[in-house]
């Protein structure tokens, strides 16, 4: 899946280091003591909304000073250091563009601002990379969200940066645009670029990247291969809320089942702690049928991403 070979042209491979990075606003801690190293390839920054992903990305991109710790690209701090943008490309979440420019003018302006010797060639290459050549002469305010996003990626890539940061790049895209963007990120990572993108959707991350950094409530909760993290997520205990025609009878029968770790009987029904998702959901109908109990309601009560994440934190 990952091809970590150095790029043949352009700047050399770069590493992004975060060392004990924290950021607080008054009494609110947005990012808490995060240390990570990102190398070539695609890395997903996964976490629920409000976890601090954007704050972290802004610090990586030099748009926010860490309250403590440091963010370094090949040893140079990103804060107050415009020279860092020779190695860094940023596609932030706000999809603001100069609507009065055509896509080509927009990318070309980026090339000129980077002081590239051959701005036209760089513009052409970047636009081809995102496959937007057909629409490059249209004003950007006529673009769809996905097209705008791709042109912004082209502008961020025009100087062939070794590091590319994207904040929620799939937000608001339709499935086709999403797939296209995923392919693009794959390709960029395979070329040896250090690509980091943030997302609050697990499926997006698992389709694009092999490596995942999970951030919850400002802390780095887990990091590493996504398959390991995925396994942790599926094998965690699950909680279900059940209502039935005879809660007490069902509770007794459930306790006898291997797939159940605990049952609480309340006046609003049962709360069942299952050992693992698949086994329990297969066992429940059989148990209910054997007991002649009718199950009226079965709700997985902790399926929100937040609970998945908080499980990871404690794992």
């Amino acid at each position: 899946m990952e091809h970590r070979k150095p790029r043949t042209k352009g700047s050399p491979v770069s590493d992004l280091h975060l060392r004990g990075v924290s950021r607080w606003y008054g009494n609110v801690v947005a990012v808490n003591d995060v240390t990570m190293t990102l190398g070539p390839g695609v890395t997903g920054l996964l976490g629920p909304n409000g976890a601090g992903k954007t704050t972290l990305l802004h610090m990586m991109a030099g748009f926010l000073a860490p309250s403590r710790g440091e963010v370094l690209i090949d040893g140079d701090a990103t804060w107050r250091n415009p020279a860092i943008y020779r190695k860094l490309g940023l596609v932030n979440e706000r999809e603001a563009v100069y609507g009065f420019l055509s896509g080509k003018e927009f990318v070309r302006a980026s090339a000129k601002l980077h002081g590239l010797p051959d701005a036209d060639a760089a513009t052409r290459r970047a636009i081809e990379l995102v496959e937007m050549a057909d629409a490059q002469d249209r004003r950007m305010d006529t673009y769809s969200k996905g097209m705008r996003q791709r042109m912004r990626v082209a502008a961020a890539l025009v100087h062939d940066p070794a590091v590319l940061l994207l904040d929620e790049p799939f937000n608001g895209m339709d499935p086709r645009q999403r797939m296209h963007m995923m392919e693009l990120l794959h390709r960029l990572g395979a070329q040896g670029r250090t690509v980091l993108f943030s997302s609050h959707i697990l499926e997006e991350v698992e389709q694009v990247s092999g490596t995942v950094q999970v951030i919850v409530a400002g802390r780095l909760a887990a990091s590493g291969d996504y398959r390991t993290i995925r396994r942790l997520m599926t094998h965690r205990p699950h909680v279900f809320a059940i209502r039935s025609s005879d809660d007490r009878r069902l509770a007794v029968a459930l306790m006898a089942s291997d797939s159940v770790a605990g049952v609480t009987l309340g006046k609003d029904g049962l709360t069942v702690h299952a050992g693992d998702y698949g086994t329990f959901t297969r066992a429940l109908p059989r148990i209910a049928l054997d007991q002649g109990v009718r199950v009226r309601q079965l709700i997985p009560s902790d399926e929100s991403l937040e609970s998945v994440f908080s499980y990871l934190v404690s794992a």
């Binding site: 950021r23 606003y25 947005a30 909304n49 409000g50 601090g52 992903k53 954007t54 704050t55 802004h58 991109a61 748009f63 926010l64 000073a65 107050r80 415009p82 020279a83 860092i84 943008y85 020779r86 860094l88 490309g89 940023l90 932030n92 706000r94 603001a96 563009v97 100069y98 009065f100 420019l101 302006a109 980026s110 000129k112 601002l113 980077h114 002081g115 502008a155 961020a156």
Partner: protein
């Protein structure tokens, strides 16, 4: 001076609907002067009431405010400033390009009609005096409003309060504040350049000259410093 930034800034500025507010101002200034002359008003009254009272005290700061906050403040508002900031360009050069565009647009928008109106009132020399004085005024106001765009999130409001309360009210009521009022520098420049006795100047030419340079440099310097530590707001949720 970065031509790409200047080009984007100028296109963004002139393409924005707010810029259309600039259009009626020259027309109003010349129109009111023409009406005054048609009713045979005294030259001194027109110089004091229309050229200074309307042109220097209202139109010049207002145009500079719209333009000066439009070149950077609007980009900060809508987030497009990030495209310029993610480039390896010294922040001083970004500010310089913005300042040059803002000052040029404001100067042209105000100096031309001022030249026409003042020429109608008192001849070409008076016209040149007011025109050039407005160029100087446009430069110093642009630097101040540019700085305001990076210092506060509400540059138009703060700028308007400054124009109305400081320039409009205090500098005319409290004599001591005149040495720190752009309006009085512009009046002094117009007076010195035209040699006209139609209106009194209130500060010395030396003070006006030095303070104009000081405010321009201070505004540009402050804007650069603030842009160096420009932070993008984090997640709100």
């Amino acid at each position: 001076m970065n031509m790409t930034i200047a080009w984007i800034t100028a296109r963004g500025l002139l393409g924005r609907r707010r810029s259309w507010l600039l259009l009626p101002m020259p027309v109003i200034l010349i129109g009111i002067t023409a009406i005054g002359l048609a009713f045979e008003a005294e030259a001194a009254d027109l110089a004091d009431g229309v050229l200074i009272g309307l042109g220097v005290a209202v139109i010049l700061p207002l145009v500079s405010l719209i333009v000066g906050t439009g070149v950077l403040g609007s980009e900060i508002d809508d987030g497009t400033v990030v495209h310029i900031l993610t480039k390896p360009i010294p922040r001083s050069r970004i500010i310089l390009a913005k300042l040059v565009v803002a000052a040029t647009v404001s100067a042209v928008t105000t100096a031309v009609p001022m030249f026409v109106a003042a020429t109608m009132v008192g001849g070409v020399r008076l016209g040149l005096g007011f025109g050039l004085a407005c160029v100087a005024g446009a430069i110093v106001y642009s630097a101040l409003f540019l700085a305001l765009s990076v210092v506060t999130r509400r540059p138009v409001l703060v700028g308007l309060l400054y124009v109305v309360i400081w320039e409009g009210l205090l500098s005319n009521v409290v004599t001591g504040t005149r040495t720190v009022s752009v309006q009085h520098y512009v009046i002094e420049f117009a007076s010195a350049l035209s040699g006209s006795a139609l209106f009194p100047s209130t500060v010395s030419t030396a003070v006006a000259g030095v303070m104009t340079v000081v405010f321009t440099v201070l505004g540009a310097w402050l804007a650069t410093q603030r842009l160096r530590v420009f932070s993008v707001a984090g997640e709100t949720s």
